[in-house]
Symmetry: D2
Subunit: 337 residues, 4 copies
């Protein structure tokens, strides 16, 4: 039996561990200036058609706070869905560094350009925070994904209002390998000022790759990283991981597999006439009778998402280790409840 | 003709200016340690039945940020209506100092205890900001006021959840002298951890009196004020003003007069069959045809509050200098539009 | 008998109070956008030959923190003498906003260009704070003043290393009217990125005029001021004061008089064969037997400056109200000790 | 040939890598709540006789900033040697979070209790930062170590003045296994409020173990960690490493070996009549002719420490992989210069 709690319950994909083992006795330059990090940067820039810079960091909240704080003055704000990770699940990390989030209501977990327009029409006066950035997650916090057209529209509204555009890619792999996805990786290198390629939730031991397309925003960036306590002495650790993940299509292969198993899980739920929210990625949201939900939470480590009275919505997440057999076991178990 | 733009368009009430003129050649100890400040503190504590401390500051945003930042850790948040002054009209001053606001929807401009309960049921996990304070304004940003029972209920829910309770009193005078008010000033000294007595919007040259009832929260407060750049060298300036304002009932007399003139204005609007929002204090919100609204904004300096398509809601504010004759002139003008 | 404690023990110079009284019934636009503030800005820019902007603020620590924080990223530092006001007497206000001070040893209270060179040679690596600004006070914290050549040299070293140059002018009037001064006010408009014209210590009720010569640094400055809680609702209060102070030579006349009385005081000490530190402005530092020092501290409110074993150095400050008769009384008293 | 650049040029000690490999397929609870982290905490508390809590973090600067920022108000400061890592080599990370360092001159790299007394006698007024903590590193930035008596004296002066006492243990292993050391690990659990056990510089892939002895200071600590962006999703990664390092004496064995090789290196230098600074740990500071120094820097990656005109002081660091043969090769090379 396997947990469905999240996609970071296991140290690392075997190829990542093997890469580390291979490099164990190498002497490397510290602080991310090593060969592996340079090589990984090159591969990532190629993959996403970016002409910018890549910085390797330890975690997602850290990466979000680092990038947003490097762009904004303290009187400027970042527009985000109220469901955005930076608003809900980062313990005020961004505000803690001195930055306000301007909240808008999501539609299907996503930020619409019309909401950005509304904000710009409202915030026009020096007694209000000045909007300066748009933040989205892809895939979103509820597992939905942006279409190419939606991203282009957001990019355009950002240009219109001189807003920076930042994409949180904690689960970018899952978004770009979803069967519903129409976004080429190469779009990422030009459509936004920065995005990050999540490693922690996609088979790495730890690490996120922040890609800053807009080179002006990368000025003195290593000073900024150090100032925020986020510069890893053994930066080559994350460099080696990403070098391996982007040596070939490993990064996307891992993500695709988690999506396929998640789709298999959704099919399983459907066959049982159980209701799931639309999510074309590796997070699956099931609404089910409360007693059954509590049983599943206990047994499979699912997270409770929303209380709907007699029912609960709970979240199942698949990872690179989740197999169809694991899903079969789960579906069988539910059928016996 | 007089403007209806706000209640801080004029230097100071004559008695305040006279008090300053009287003290002009006195030598006073700096930084708020002078006799006048001590005396003003004593009178304010008596008026509001507080056993705490009073600190004199220069402005409202500064006072809000100072107090909230002195109570919270950076992982803790303050619950406020989305319409709250700290959220809307302070240019991210609070977030700029590192603190998150937890937003709830207001009802008639006010924060309901049930909303606090909802927040406490939702924010229970270390990946979310930890609620630690409730912030309200009285009178509210739309001129409404809290009843005694509403304040008691909020105070109780704060106690239940170990939340600090802070009342923004930028227009406290106007609230406590409204004809609909049932709150005795003496309630303020015990019902909350701190509140402030607004001077800038009630006839003073400048100055707000922060009353900290909860003495634990006043520890090292002068260090905190200085650290935030808010300690006035000539603190006795504000001390002299508040000493005069609370020498007798001047503070409340000023507020009552502005309310009475505001009521007279609402009557005038009603007689013209014009629609105003309910507000028992010195802010009057009129919804009127857009062309007329724009004309009034231009002539009387009213602020635009809300765009309702063919109509606008605009705000009229009365100050201690606004007379019934000023209102008559305004009403007459509107009747000619 | 008059205190010699500081230069802000008295509300305001009579002409300043008169100006306020004259304007008492005027309706003014709030937040510093009024006619008086515009007019005062114009006069100050003319006086100092600046083509920049002027912002009126409430106090010196606030002004220092505001300007420095608007220039620096959090990984950048400001070079200052260890004796600098921002380092010693502002309760970590600057660090509290997130900025490090790079300390160098003063010579005669002043910062030498060679010290800036040393810092630039040392701080060259992303693991150290990046120097980005030079801060000096004129007059200095021990009453000395910079010569024209010294300011030019500092300005040049700043240009060489792309450092901003900021002059704290809490006692700028006293510096520029010292009998030893060779700096024209018009030099200030071009030699540095910003400076401030201190009002609180030179006869105003309250207020400092921050002059930003470098217009790039003034971008969105009103947002910044509001974000730091420093925007005064009745900004016209400070505007009226500075308008009066720069209507003619009042600002400098006040300062010159305090210097003259301070010189008279130094002469008095010299005649008694008492030792004073060199200070050509309105702060006088006397080293005297400890028991006598303590007596003077008690009687005249002098501040203790340095403990030298059997002797203390204590500070006497003259203000616009200090007369030669006050000095005579003091000198006579000392002669009887 | 091996570099002598630092002690973090190699991924990890073989036993650490083996431990990770062993756990690769385990499902673990995220965010540091897993079994391995609990077990590692238990072993560390036992080793250092602490009754507190242990938190696993990614790096040293992060750990310093986290702990200090959790203790201090923004008007409070931390006393440190001017040579302290937090002052020199953390790119203003601590000030960036809003906290001032009160600098004192070191003696032999160490902070003397008398310096703390001096600070306490000087900083007594609300216009100055309020001292609240003492920070030291052991081993120090120049490789020296504190004696038991020195630590006891510092602890006592901290108690006398109600100052927190925090020990940066980035190279704690090296200090406690130095042949000159007389401090038992068990002293650490009671003598200070907190310390950290450095892993990154002592054979771990990454990770520092912050031990908070004073349980009051640990309140809501996980919220604080998350708020600072420092909570690792796969916290069990660091847990597994420390579990292995403290399973037996591995942590100290690694450190002892690096010290022994460093001693062997110092002997080698002495035999060549070359001058080294006193350092009983794994950092070796050699003063040598400039041309020779530059050659060694180029060949062995040594860091330049101090320019002494015709000579340079350069730093050699030994790590767990440095062998006597590596030293022999280095000494031989120098003898040929």
């Amino acid at each position: 039996m396997r947990l469905f709690k999240n996609d970071y319950s296991i140290l690392a994909h075997p190829r990542i561990m093997n890469a580390l083992n291979r490099c164990q006795n190498e002497e490397n330059i510290p602080y991310g200036l090593d060969y592996h990090s340079k090589n990984a940067e090159k591969k990532i820039l190629e993959t996403f058609s970016s002409e910018g810079n890549v910085y390797f960091l330890a975690g997602g909240t850290q990466t979000n706070v680092l990038f947003i704080s490097s762009c904004l003055k303290h009187y400027e704000g970042v527009i985000s869905c109220s469901s955005g990770h930076i608003n809900v699940h980062e313990t005020a990390a961004l505000e803690g560094q001195g930055y306000k989030i301007i909240l808008v209501e999501p539609v299907n977990g996503k930020l619409l350009p019309s909401k950005v327009e509304e904000v710009m029409n409202t915030y026009q006066d020096e007694h209000m925070v000045k909007p300066r950035m748009v933040y989205i997650s892809n895939s979103t916090e509820i597992g939905t994904i942006y279409t190419k057209q939606e991203l282009l529209d957001l990019s355009n509204v950002c240009k219109k209002y001189h807003l920076y555009f930042f994409i949180d890619g904690a689960r970018l792999g899952s978004a770009l390998t979803s069967k519903d996805n129409d976004v080429e990786p190469s779009l990422l290198g030009s459509i936004c000022d920065a995005f990050y390629v999540g490693g922690t939730k996609n088979g790495l031991l730890l690490g996120e790759a922040l890609v800053i397309n807009n080179k002006e925003l990368a000025k003195d960036y290593r000073y900024h990283i150090k100032n925020k306590g986020a510069m890893l002495a053994k930066g080559y650790l994350v460099g080696i991981e990403f070098e391996e993940a982007f040596k070939d299509s490993l990064y996307f292969d891992i993500a695709r597999k988690t999506n396929e198993v998640a789709d298999y899980l959704k099919d399983g739920f459907n066959k049982l006439n159980l209701h799931t929210l639309y999510s074309p990625t590796n997070q699956v949201f099931l609404t089910i009778r409360k007693d059954q939900a509590l049983d599943l939470i206990k047994r499979y480590g699912c997270e409770k998402w929303e209380d709907k009275g007699n029912e609960l919505t709970i979240r199942f997440v698949t990872s690179f280790l989740t197999s169809k057999e694991d899903v079969d076991e789960l579906i069988h178990y539910i059928s016996t409840l």
